[in-house]
Subunit: 404 residues, 2 copies
């Protein structure tokens, strides 16, 4: 029965985490509105537990230099699995969210869960061993004094996750995963708490925390093999009643469009703008492409069919985003996903749709930008979610389930 963190300690960790630079005692105290003396005990315990570490003296401004503290990066290792429609990435991050090592598997999600998760678990096990069990910060034997697991797995899946059960539900993109016990499978191979979430939620968290920290209402759209969305409201991912919030891919495109979607409906955004649909449509027109990377390359090369289809796709996405913008009035919309590799016209076309179909007030201060976090954005977001959990600030407890 490990002692849990006090509220004050959670607060200290939050402050440190959201600061770009290490902080002195005085700075932490000021941020929390408490007297400096009040921090002493909590700070000492945190240091003893290894969660935070001294970070060298700051430069003097004319007086005694302050000792500064920062999150101890080596206090934990977070293994992250980012399953995408056409590729899967794994990585291990430290407690500051820095990725220490990553790996890529180029296989579509529908090769099935065993192949993908088997590979991922193997990679993670190796990485976690190589990178060492997290510095247990303690000959003192108090390394779990704060009651924290020091290794943690986060997985993002490209489909709706019912977090009341932790299962993938009627996954249009992942029929071979239907009913598969992801939690059980991973638990068998890696003994660590596991958090399951939607892949776009991970991206959304990364964007909010790392690129747009002041955003209050953020919408993130991922244009990959499928089309997904994620919402971050006041710093928390909004997952909805059953965890399926953010699904923008299977909303109806504005123009009646007969394209059949894998979800069983017709005219879904994804049936027009999803990577799989683009590949399929190109195929129909006799253009060779096996995945979305090919599509993006074709667009960059100026292949007329690809250019036209992707242009149309972006406009459809723009209309859908416009609906979402009207409904939510976000301050920030971020576009991510591999289709961005097709070039800047994607964003331009989406913007066009948004500004055309939304009311002026909703777009007046709207920031609509592509992600700048690169292809590892999903892993970075997974690290953020894992840190949330370790710091006791996770918002949806159902996501995590420690097997005892």
């Amino acid at each position: 029965m490990p002692a849990p963190l006090t509220q004050r300690q959670v607060d200290i960790l939050e402050v440190l985490r959201h600061s770009a630079t290490p902080l002195s005692r005085s700075e932490i105290a000021a941020a929390l509105n408490v007297a400096r003396a009040t921090l002493a005990e909590g700070l000492q315990e945190l240091e003893a537990s290894g969660l935070i570490a001294p970070s060298g003296p700051s430069v003097s401004t004319g007086g005694r230099p302050a000792h500064t503290f920062d999150i101890n990066a080596d206090a934990a290792r977070i293994g992250i699995i980012d399953v995408g429609g056409s590729r899967t990435r794994v990585g291990v991050s430290d407690l500051r969210g820095e990725l220490l090592q990553t790996a890529l598997l180029d296989a579509p999600v529908d090769v099935g869960p065993e192949r993908i998760l088997g590979w991922a678990c193997g990679q993670l096990t190796t990485m976690l061993t190589t990178l060492g069990p997290a510095d247990t910060a303690a000959d003192t034997g108090t390394n779990t004094a704060a009651g924290h697991q020091r290794t943690l797995i986060v997985i993002g899946l490209p489909g709706p996750i019912d977090f009341t059960t932790g299962e993938v539900v009627s996954p249009p993109l992942m029929s071979s995963w239907q009913g598969f016990d992801v939690r059980g499978y991973i638990a068998q191979q890696i003994d660590a708490p596991l958090i399951i979430d939607n892949d776009v939620n991970l991206i959304a968290l990364a964007e909010q925390r790392l690129s747009h920290p002041t955003s209050k209402v953020m919408l993130v759209i991922k244009l990959g093999t499928g089309v997904g969305g994620g919402l971050v409201i006041n710093g928390h991912a909004l997952r909805g009643a059953r965890g399926s919030a953010g699904d923008i891919g299977h909303t109806q495109a504005t123009r009646a469009h007969g394209a059949p979607c894998r979800c069983g409906h017709t005219g879904c955004v994804e049936a027009i703008a999803g990577g799989w649909a683009l590949v399929q449509d190109l195929d129909t027109r006799g253009v060779q492409a096996t995945n979305i990377t090919d599509v993006a390359r074709l667009v960059r090369d100026g292949e007329p069919n690809a250019v036209g289809l992707v242009r149309a796709a972006a406009k459809v996405v723009g209309q859908s985003v416009a609906q979402a913008v009207s409904l939510l009035n976000p301050d920030t919309v971020v576009i991510a996903g591999e289709l961005l590799a097709a070039g800047d016209s994607i964003i331009a076309n989406i913007r066009e749709g948004v500004y055309q179909y939304s009311l002026p007030l909703a777009t007046r201060d709207l920031t609509l930008v592509p992600t700048t976090l690169g292809p590892l954005v999903g892993l970075k977001g997974g690290a953020q979610l894992g840190i949330d959990y370790l710091f006791g600030t996770i918002d949806i407890p159902q996501l995590a389930h420690e097997h005892e």
Copy 2:
């Protein structure tokens, strides 16, 4: 410079407010997880300030009966103005949210702000005088000890409110209001703090607080002269970056539909399902109707054109709601507005659209129901928002602005 409420006092008020029955000291202490003794001081101050009042002894269960406390209904009066597309209601509520008196003005919003607000302010002034300045609970002279205004005005307007300026913005339904200084006008007539919000936000708050208190993600649609929406996430209205969140009326209907909308676009939901559009369409077909009440009556009477148009309208709304349901995965959707008077088929047709176009996971546990709070729901919601403000738990400080 009045002393503000302590955090503990705010907590006590919250507990009392959300309890259906008056509570004893022990019950309050249990709800707050503090010792009974700890409450004593805060409780006394609250009683002295008049915000709470003893509520008679509870029935004994074999021992000494407990003294119980409840919000002192007479500690404040909240004047509420609910401006709708075709009528305006005003009312005065007490601090428990009970409406003490209401009045109705049957005039469309576009007769202009002076006419409507002039009438409303006149009514409110009379009511507030008649119903007495709130019981000032104090020969003691400490009636403002807690630093609370005891009279407050809340107004809900049927258009997007830019709460960074407090103005009605490019109101499709209210061109005569464009640029009108609502705050200034009311401030001139009634000397009290003023909260301006969207009318559907008020309805949404009422529904969440009074009818669906366990809902975490709620969407409310108002089918009136216009079509509006409101969101309540975790008990707080989501207003978005500029206050225009919830706008579902000016999203594009799924089927390409050329109907021109007052907002300048074509094919908006409101251009098909808005009361004004229904009236217009009926007129085109030679059926007499001047407002949405007429339309609803025609449907009840079985007039074929009206039945058909309203049926189509409900389906369009259903499709839009389906999009919103996919995006947000709410646990509850409430339909309100005067069009409901047309009969149960409205809800049935909306449900049909939602279940047809949403993914199964999003609708698995979805509650989709009409409002049961009656035509005064907007006033009731305004009272809730006002109480939020008086109790110090208002979530969007920009809404309120005390003129000094």
